[in-house]
């Protein structure tokens, strides 16, 4: 079946071809003057009735009409595809650890079965099962039993990699012929752990159309919510008072947190994954043990250092010649006005050090969460004015691996979901991708038009008398 991507160009080419035809019919070339010794035997015609048309004129006219028709046809983006045979489905099924939540795996498998298995039991597409890598199950191998086996086996403990899934799309859509269009669906819990920087370029290259992202994770806070309204940022609380927190809150916002300042512990939101205390707020240990990351500076620790902090020392022993905090060769935070002489407890990790190498920021796991102690005042002096202040805060907020793991299990944010879904058509003509048996021949028509143009030029500008 012939398909035109832009049929108006074909019409425009046909109309344009009428122009050289009309010009050829209208134009009257002055009759040529030729010797003929037997001219006396000619019967004279009225001069106006003499219409001269050289054979090459007709050839030129034909070439010009052909050129315009070919160009119009080429711009119409024609393609030849077999008769319509419906839409082939390609399902990317997440088998990573995130699918263990609730009945996400069961729902994913059922959705894949509904998508790929017709009522008569025949398969109508390919299945790609992925976690850290992807396994392509072609249409000919898919049966109802395949999905029964998958449901029984359950998800793996590996994190899912969306990159692996995206890379598997191309071989899956170029599978056996038989459909004139393709639709791609990804069934995943959509967690941050599967996302990597640079994924946008990979997504664009993997598939020109959209990818359907049905929700299969019932435990996700995204349940029932459109992508645009999805919860995308983690909540953070800054315990401060009297105008304090005016630097920390925007710095956290800048690094992807939804932060707000509270003046006391009970005001901390229950979903807060990060609590930054820059004034004494009581016992924050329970929050840390419940899974949150608690960051305290000298102001938050107060005069009496709580025993559950990962450091030893005294907050009262402070020095005014503080210097710079070094979080590593790539991150330096200058401008601190005070510093405490602290020593990390056993099992604690030094996140940052002063210029003289003494510990400045120490972190340690506590229960399900993490406790971070910064041996300075975060909002004093020029320290919060440094450009690297937000990154330093983020480094403290992600201090513990356990926190990173928790983050990996957080829902994918709206921007990433939008990138993953793409903006193309949900059902992509197989011809547009050059697969599934369709042949796009616009470029060949354009090449033909180019050859005709060259022939026309040679014929039109040949030396006189060559014809």
């Amino acid at each position: 079946m012939l398909t035109l991507g832009a049929p108006l160009f074909l019409l425009a080419g046909a109309l344009a071809a009428l122009i050289p035809l009309a010009l050829h019919l209208i134009r009257r070339r002055p009759p040529t003057r030729s010797p003929l010794p037997t001219a006396r035997f000619l019967s004279e015609d009225a001069r106006s009735s003499i219409r001269v048309s050289r054979p090459t004129d007709r050839l030129l006219m034909a070439l010009r009409i052909l050129l315009l028709l070919l160009a119009g046809a080429a711009l119409a983006r024609p393609s030849w595809a077999p008769a319509p045979r419906g839409t082939r489905e390609v399902v990317l099924l997440d088998r990573g650890a995130a699918m263990r939540d609730s009945d996400a795996w069961r729902r994913g498998v059922e959705e894949a079965r509904r998508t790929l298995i017709a009522r008569d039991g025949s398969a109508r597409g390919d299945l790609v099962v992925f976690d850290t890598s992807a396994v392509h199950l072609p249409q000919r191998r898919l049966t109802g039993a395949t999905f029964d086996s998958l449901a029984a086996a359950g998800p793996t403990a590996n994190p899912a990699s969306y990159a692996a899934a995206l890379r598997a799309i191309d071989p899956a859509v170029r599978g056996p012929r038989g459909a004139d269009s393709v639709r791609v669906t990804m069934l995943s819990a959509l967690r941050r752990g599967g996302w990597r920087p640079g994924m946008a370029a990979l997504r664009q290259a993997a598939w020109p159309g959209a990818i359907r992202l049905p929700n299969v994770a019932s435990s996700s806070p995204l349940d029932g919510a459109p992508i645009s309204q999805a919860e995308t940022r983690q909540s953070a609380a800054v315990i401060a008072s009297g105008g304090a927190g005016r630097f920390v809150v925007p710095a956290l916002e800048a690094t992807g947190w939804t932060a707000r300042a509270v003046d006391r512990l009970p005001a901390v939101p229950s979903d807060a994954r990060l609590i930054v205390a820059i004034r004494p707020a009581g016992d924050l240990r329970a929050l840390a043990q419940a899974g949150a990351t608690v960051v305290l500076d000298l102001g938050g620790a107060g005069s009496s250092m709580p025993r559950w902090l990962p450091v030893q020392g005294s907050a009262t022993r402070q020095r005014s010649d503080a210097g710079d905090l070094w979080f590593g060769p790539d991150l330096q935070l200058p401008g601190a006005t005070v510093r405490a002489d602290i020593r990390p407890k056993r099992g604690a990790t030094v996140l940052a050090a002063w210029d003289d190498g003494r510990p400045a920021v120490v972190a340690a796991r506590l229960g399900k969460g993490c406790v971070v102690f910064a041996g300075t005042r975060l909002e004093d002096g020029a320290l919060p004015l440094s450009p690297s202040f937000p990154r330093a805060l983020e480094r403290m907020a992600r201090a513990c691996d356990g926190a990173r793991t928790a983050d990996a299990m957080m829902p994918l944010d709206a921007g990433a979901r939008a990138i993953l879904a793409g903006r193309g058509a949900a059902v992509v003509n197989a011809a547009a991708d050059g697969g599934a048996g369709a042949v796009a021949f616009g470029r060949w028509l354009m090449a033909g038009a180019l050859l005709v143009a060259i022939a026309e030029t040679i014929l039109a500008y040949r030396p006189r008398g060559a014809a």
Binding site: P31, T32, R33, S34, P35, L36, P37, T38, A39, R40, F41, L42, S43, E44, D45, A46, R47, S49, I50, R51, V52, R54
Partner: protein, 301 residues
Amino acid sequence: MPASATTGSFLPPRLLERLGGLEVVAKTVVRGFLAGSHRSPRHGAGEDFAKHRDYQQGDDIRYLDWKLFARTDRLHVREFEERSNLSAYLVLDASLSMEFADGDDPSKLRYACYVAAALAHLMLGSGDAVGLAAFGAQPQLLSPPRARRGQLHDLLLQLERLRPAGSGSAADVLDRVGGALPRGGRVVLVSDLLEDDDGDALVASAGRLRARGDEVIVMRVLTPVEAGERGGGPGLFFDPERPAREIAAVPEADAGYARRVAEYYARIADRLRERGVEYVALTTEQPVESALAAWVAARRG
């Protein structure tokens, strides 16, 4: 110009090969001022020997073949072919109309030169004296008839120098040729016969030549386009000899054109034949050698 180059130009090997075995047979017996070769003491035996026959009483014993007598012990006399030489003029039309050419075919003048060169070759080979005359801007007797060995070279050189010009009539040059040629000669006119007076003067001049005993052959040369055999596209046409008069026409659509041309030449041919003039119609697409071969074959018949 070297003789070989000239000869090669007008007598290509292919033409010579075809014409090599032909011999022009004159219909009219003329007496030349040169005696027949078998009567001339300058002619030795051998070249013109015809056959032996038994000696009969009364035969000239000078023609007895003594060597044969020594071998066979019988008397034979040698017989020679009697031959006579005639003077011929090749008359070429070099008017502007002869410059016309049809496509890749040679122009009419060039074709006429081919024909004249071929005839000169044949006639000189037969011992005839051949001269050349032409007319265009004015009638010219370019070379008197001669039978010497270098005459062919001279004639071909003159043919090479011919350039189309003017619009003269063949009658004038025929009259001048008649004055310069002994009676009983041969005149071959090669022309397109496009005359202002529909050929009246030409026919009269040819008739006068014929009346005094000359053999007159008129070869008409025409291109297929002129003859109406090949269509021509629309345009403004003019006679090269009268360029001021233009005719807007479409030859290929003019049904009467070919008929009028044919009638014109048929009239001239009839009038020439009435006066005993031989008329040969040629077109430039005909191979020269095949045209001449057909002509010679017809004369033999």
